[in-house]
C-alpha cells in the first residue's frame, strides 16, 4: 500500500534524525535483555565453581575466531556507512555485503563448533552451563541473522541510491551485536 511518509518523520526537535534516535532506544532495550541473561549466568558461574570444568570444553579458538570475524564485519559496516555518506552507492553496497559475509562466516564457525560439541554430548540439556551457553549464544545468533536480513534489504535500496541514511542505522545495530559478543566471548570461553 502506498503510504506517504508523514511530515512527522522528518521533524527533528532534538537535532537527532528520527531513525537514529529510534535505533538508540532499540539498543537501550536490548542492553537490558542481554544484561539480564548474562547477570544470571554470572551469578551462577560464581556460585558453581565446577562450571569451569564444563567451560574448559568450549572451543576458545572458535570463539576467538568469531570475535575476529565480528570485529572485522563491524569495520566493514563502518566503511559502508562512510561510502554512503560520500554517496558512493556501489562501494557502500559492496561493504554491506562484506558485512553480511562476515555474519555468514560467524554463523558457519558457530554451526561447526556446536555440531562438534553436541556430538561430544554437550547438549542444551546436559548441564546448566551448557543451557546458558546455547541460549545466550543462540539469542545472539538470532540477532546476527536478523541484522543480516535487514542489511540485505537496505543494500538493495542503497544500490538504487535510496534511503542511504539507513546504512548508519543498521550499522549501529550491528555494532551492538558485536559488543554483545565482545562480552560473551570472555564469559563463555575464557573464564575457565
Amino acid at each position: 500500500m502506498g503510504m506517504q511518509t508523514p511530515v512527522a518523520t522528518g521533524r527533528s526537535v532534538t537535532g537527532i534524525p528520527t531513525g537514529r534516535l529510534a535505533v538508540w532506544w532499540i539498543v537501550g532495550s536490548e542492553i537490558v535483555i542481554f544484561g539480564g541473561l548474562l547477570m544470571y549466568y554470572i551469578m551462577l558461574r560464581n556460585k558453581f565453581d565446577f562450571w569451569s570444568e564444563s567451560s574448559a570444553h568450549t572451543n576458545t579458538f572458535a570463539g576467538a575466531l568469531n570475535t575476529f570475524i565480528l570485529l572485522t564485519s563491524s569495520l566493514f559496516i563502518v566503511m559502508a556507512h562512510y561510502y554512503a555518506e560520500q554517496k558512493d552507492h556501489i562501494k557502500s553496497f559492496k561493504y554491506i555485503w562484506a558485512t553480511i559475509g562476515g555474519g555468514l562466516c560467524f554463523l558457519l564457525v558457530k554451526s561447526m563448533e556446536w555440531t562438534f560439541e553436541i556430538m561430544s554430548g554437550y547438549t542444551i540439556t546436559s548441564e546448566l552451563f551448557w543451557s546458558f551457553y546455547y541460549t545466550a549464544a543462540g539469542i545472539h545468533a538470532v540477532h546476527v541473522i536478523a541484522g543480516m536480513v535487514i542489511m540485505g534489504i537496505i543494500s538493495f535500496d542503497v544500490l538504487q541510491r535510496k534511503n542511504m541514511h539507513r546504512v548508519e542505522l543498521i550499522g549501529i545495530y550491528w555494532h551492538f551485536v558485536d559488543i554483545v559478543w565482545i562480552f560473551l566471548f570472555p564469559l563463555l570461553y575464557i573464564a575457565k
Partner: protein, 565 residues
C-alpha cells in the same frame, strides 16, 4: 521550510482506499489506536467474564455457574491466571498506553502521524497475534495456563505440576509477543514525542498525559529486558527440559521471582502514569484551572519512575529472600508512597477554587482520586515486611491492588473515553446514561473490594477455589462478605451494558460535536472532529502551555496553545 508548516496534502481524495486499507491495514495512528482500544476492550470483557465465573464459585462453591457450568479446581486456577494476565497485558496496557497513546500523541503535538507508521501497524499486528495465541490457549488439551499470572516455577515449568502443558507454553509465548509489541510501540511513542513536536512547543508545553505515556514507555523498556530473558529460559524449561529454574540442576526459582518482579513493579507504574495523565487532562478542563504545579508533577513522575526500580522485592518478602534485602525494600517501598501522595495533593490543589463542571468524564476523574487514594494507603500496610508476613497471599493484597488497578484501568479509562469521544467520533456520548453508568460502576466497585479487605484480614488465602476445608474461614459471616462481593460483580457487569450501548449508539447517532466542545487548550482540539487522515490542514504552532485556563484579563476562560498572543 514549507513542509514543516503546511501538511503535505494527503492523497485520500485521489486514491480511494478500500475497506481493508482504511480500517484493517491502515497505518494511520488514529485507526491503530482504535484497533488497540477495541481489541483491548474485547479482551477486557473476557477477563471480566472470568472474574464473574470464579467469584460465583467462591460465593456458591460447588454450584453450577450460569453461563459457564461447574468450576473444577483446575479450571479455577486457569480462570484466575488468565483473568490477571488478560487484565494487565491485554486490557490495561493496550487501552491506556497503546490506544490513548496512539490516538493522542500526534494530535496533541501537532503532527500528522507517528514517526514510524508502518512499525506502528506491525506492533498492533504482533499484539493481535499475542491475543489470539492467548485465546487459543483456552481450547487446547488441558486448557489455559493455571500457574497464576506470576508463573512461578517449578509450578509453571513442569506440566506434571500445572496440568496445562500446552496452555503454559502458549501463555508464555503470548506474553513474550505482547512484550515485543509494546517495545516496538514504545519506541515509536518516545521518538515521536522527542522529535515531532510542533514549532514552539517547549518541553513544558507538552500536555502531562503525553509525558506520562512516554515516561511509562521508557519504564517499560528499562524493566522488561530481564523478564524477556527469563521468559525464554522458562519456555526452554517447559518445552525442552533445561534446568534454568530447577534447583536439582543448579537453577533457582527465586531468580524467576526476581526477574518477574524487577519488571512487575515498574509495570504497575507503567499503567498508573497514563491514568494519572488522563485524569490531569480531564480535571484541568473541567475545573477551568491550570495544573497546580506542572514542573513538580513532571519531576515527581520521573522520581517515581526511578524509585519504582528500587522496590520490587516487596513482592517477595516471605519468599525466602535475604532479610537484609527485605529491610532495604521496606524503606524504598514506603518512600515511594511520598511522591505519589504528593501528586494526588497537587491534583486536589488543582481542583481547589476551580469552577467545577460535573460531566461524566469529571465524575470518573474525581472517583479515580478517591479510590486510588485508598489503594495507595493500603499498600503501605503491605510494604511493611512485618505486616506483610500476615497479609501476603491474602485477599487483603487482592483488595489493595484492585483498589489501585481498577481506578487505573477502568475508572481513568472511562474518564478518558467520555472526554475524548467527541474528538474521536464528532459526536457526544449521552450524559444521562453516562451518569447512570458512573454510579453503576463506582458503587459496586467499592462493594466488591471493601469486603475483601476484611475477608483478607480474617485470613482468606488467595488462589483458593473453596474455603470449605478451612474451618476458620468457612464461617457464615465471611461467606456473607464473599457473597456481597460476588453480587456486586454481577451488578457492575450489568451496568457496563449501559456504557456499551451509549458508546456504540452515540458513535452513529449522538449529538454532533464541533472541534472543541469542552473549550480546552491542547492541540487535539484544533483538528476537526473526527480528524481526517493527516490531522491538520495547517500545522499548528505553539505559543503557551497546555493549561492556560481562567487567565486574568481575558474574556475567555481558556487560551488555546496555538492561538497567537
Amino acid at each position: 521550510m514549507s513542509s514543516s508548516t503546511h501538511a503535505a496534502h494527503h492523497d485520500d481524495h485521489h486514491h480511494h482506499l478500500s475497506f481493508w486499507q482504511k480500517y484493517i491495514f491502515s497505518t494511520d495512528h488514529k485507526v491503530i489506536g482504535m484497533q488497540y482500544l477495541l481489541t483491548g476492550i474485547f479482551m477486557g470483557v473476557i477477563g471480566g467474564y472470568m472474574s464473574y465465573v470464579f467469584r460465583m464459585q467462591l460465593a456458591f462453591p460447588g454450584k453450577e455457574v450460569p453461563f459457564f457450568g461447574l468450576v473444577t479446581a483446575a479450571e479455577y486456577n486457569s480462570l484466575i491466571t488468565n483473568h490477571g494476565s488478560i487484565m494487565i497485558f491485554w486490557f490495561a496496557m493496550p487501552v491506556l498506553i497503546a490506544a490513548f497513546g496512539n490516538y493522542l500523541i500526534p494530535l496533541m503535538i501537532g503532527a500528522d502521524d507517528m514517526v514510524f507508521p508502518r512499525i506502528n501497524r506491525l506492533s498492533y499486528q504482533i499484539f493481535l497475534l499475542s491475543a489470539l495465541i492467548l485465546i487459543a490457549s483456552f481450547f487446547v488439551p488441558g486448557g489455559g495456563f493455571g500457574g497464576a499470572w506470576t508463573a512461578y516455577p517449578p509450578l509453571s515449568a513442569k506440566a506434571e505440576y500445572n496440568l496445562t502443558p500446552w496452555g503454559s507454553s502458549l501463555w508464555l509465548l503470548a506474553v513474550a509477543l505482547e512484550f515485543v509489541a509494546f517495545l516496538l510501540g514504545g519506541i515509536n511513542f518516545i521518538t515521536t514525542l522527542m522529535n515531532a513536536r510542533a514549532k514552539g512547543m517547549k518541553y513544558t508545553d507538552i500536555p502531562i498525559v503525553l509525558w506520562m505515556i512516554v515516561i511509562a514507555s521508557i519504564l517499560f523498556m528499562a524493566s522488561v529486558g530481564p523478564l524477556i530473558a527469563g521468559a525464554i529460559m522458562l519456555l526452554f524449561d517447559q518445552m525442552i527440559g533445561t534446568g534454568f529454574f530447577d534447583p536439582a540442576r543448579g537453577g533457582d526459582p527465586i531468580l524467576w521471582q526476581h526477574l518477574f518482579w524487577f519488571f512487575g513493579h515498574p509495570e504497575v507504574y507503567v499503567v498508573l502514569l497514563p491514568a494519572m495523565g488522563i485524569v490531569a487532562e480531564v480535571m484541568t478542563t473541567f475545573s477551568r484551572k491550570k495544573l497546580f504545579a506542572y514542573k513538580t508533577v513532571l519531576f515527581t513522575t520521573i522520581a517515581t519512575g526511578v524509585l519504582s526500580f528500587f522496590v520490587w522485592a516487596h513482592h517477595q518478602f516471605i519468599a525466602g529472600i535475604d532479610p537484609r534485602m527485605a529491610n532495604i525494600f521496606v524503606v524504598t517501598t514506603v518512600l515511594i508512597s511520598i511522591p505519589i501522595a504528593e501528586m494526588l495533593f497537587v491534583y486536589i490543589a488543582t481542583l481547589y477554587g476551580g469552577s467545577i463542571r460535573f460531566t461524566t468524564a469529571m465524575l470518573f476523574a474525581l472517583a479515580f482520586l478517591a479510590t486510588f487514594l485508598i489503594g495507595g494507603v493500603t499498600g503501605i500496610f503491605l510494604g511493611a515486611s512485618g505486616a506483610d508476613i500476615y497479609f501476603h497471599d491474602t485477599y487483603f493484597v487482592i483488595a489493595h491492588f484492585h483498589y489501585t488497578f481498577v481506578p487505573i484501568a477502568v475508572i481513568a479509562v472511562f474518564a478518558g473515553l467520555y472526554y475524548w469521544f467527541p474528538k474521536m467520533f464528532g459526536r457526544f456520548m449521552n450524559e444521562k446514561l453516562g451518569k447512570i453508568h458512573f454510579w453503576g460502576t463506582f458503587i459496586p466497585f467499592n462493594t466488591i473490594f471493601l469486603p475483601l479487605f476484611f475477608t483478607g484480614a480474617a485470613g482468606d488465602h488467595r488462589r483458593i477455589f473453596t474455603y470449605a476445608n478451612f474451618p476458620q474461614l468457612a464461617t457464615p459471616g465471611l461467606q456473607d462478605l464473599r457473597i456481597i462481593a460476588t453480587y456486586s460483580v454481577v451488578a457492575i457487569m450489568l451496568f457496563q451494558f449501559v456504557f456499551f450501548w451509549n458508546f456504540f449508539y452515540s458513535m452513529f447517532r449522538g449529538a454532533k460535536a464541533g472541534k472543541n466542545p469542552w473549550n480546552a487548550n491542547t492541540l487535539e482540539w484544533v483538528a476537526p472532529s473526527p480528524p481526517p487522515h493527516g490531522n491538520f490542514d495547517v500545522f499548528p504552532e505553539v505559543y503557551r502551555g497546555p493549561y492556560e485556563f481562567s487567565v486574568p484579563g481575558r474574556d475567555q476562560d481558556f487560551w488555546p496553545q496555538n492561538e497567537k498572543a
